[in-house]
Symmetry: C2
Subunit: 165 residues, 2 copies
């Protein structure tokens, strides 16, 4: 089946036959798919009264394991937002009682963000919902295809994640 990127690439080949636009076949699809996923996730999380950004922060802490705490700096590398954004997110989650800010005992510049029990429950519930939705989106692909896709994508993400980026 054709998608919007097929149409986009065909248009470029008509308008700029001098250029090789093949890279768009991969990377424009990644960007557009991410945008669609954002919208779908927003809907899925709404059932749990969570915004996507709240989910990102809460699940980062949840994954850390007991006692469910990380520094704002560690949260930055997981969520790919700037420090100002993270400060703001932590403020709002703290106001809602989903996280708590504690002084870092080993570095007085630092802070630890800890998940509250309610925050933990909300994260766990929303994760189950997200996985159900994602399975539906991936439904057309076989297990083998999903594995291939994951491996190919890893080759693109690894440089960003490992080099300072």
């Amino acid at each position: 089946m054709e998608d919007e990127v097929d149409r986009l690439v065909a248009a470029w080949r008509r308008e700029r036959p001098d250029l090789d636009v093949e890279p768009l076949e991969v990377l424009s699809r990644v960007s557009r798919l991410a945008r669609h996923l954002d919208r779908a996730r927003r809907l899925a999380f709404a059932e749990h009264q969570l915004e996507p950004w709240e989910f990102d922060v809460l699940t980062s802490l949840r994954r850390a394991g007991a006692p469910y705490q990380l520094s704002p700096g560690q949260l930055l590398t997981q969520t790919l937002v700037t420090s100002g954004t993270m400060t703001n997110r932590i403020d709002r989650l703290a106001k809602k009682g989903l996280v708590e800010r504690l002084p870092d005992p080993s570095d007085r510049r630092g802070v630890l963000v800890r998940l509250s029990p309610e925050g933990r429950d909300r994260a766990d519930q929303a994760l189950a919902g997200l996985l159900a939705q994602e399975r539906a989106i991936l439904g057309r692909l076989s297990r083998t295809e999903r594995g291939e896709l994951a491996d190919l994508l890893r080759q693109l993400t690894a440089p960003f994640d490992n080099i300072p980026g």
Copy 2:
């Protein structure tokens, strides 16, 4: 090589061994990669004094072919933003002289957005820069692998692009 999603998935398997988190192997990579691409693109476009959103609108018009005009509604489906956002974008591009708003002769509710000659040049230059950067990012993949990746991604994007979504 390992990436951040490998670590993320391993953490979930430790914390929630009851859940099957395999969907994240694909879709978390898509979201994170898109975020990295956004940042990289912002840098590439800065050399041409263009914001990513400006590039998106200008190139949509450029691809339409002479006389380089589309309705705001057509621009919406290409850029995946809301109508309020698009009105705002057109206003700002018009103020910079890169596009022009014309009445649609066949529908008096409608408007046509037309690319100016300068807008066209800027779009063409920025596209060349973007393609160079994307080739570098895709560098590790063979031609065959890029083709496989594009095909697998198309299976995920097609439903969003074809069903009203």
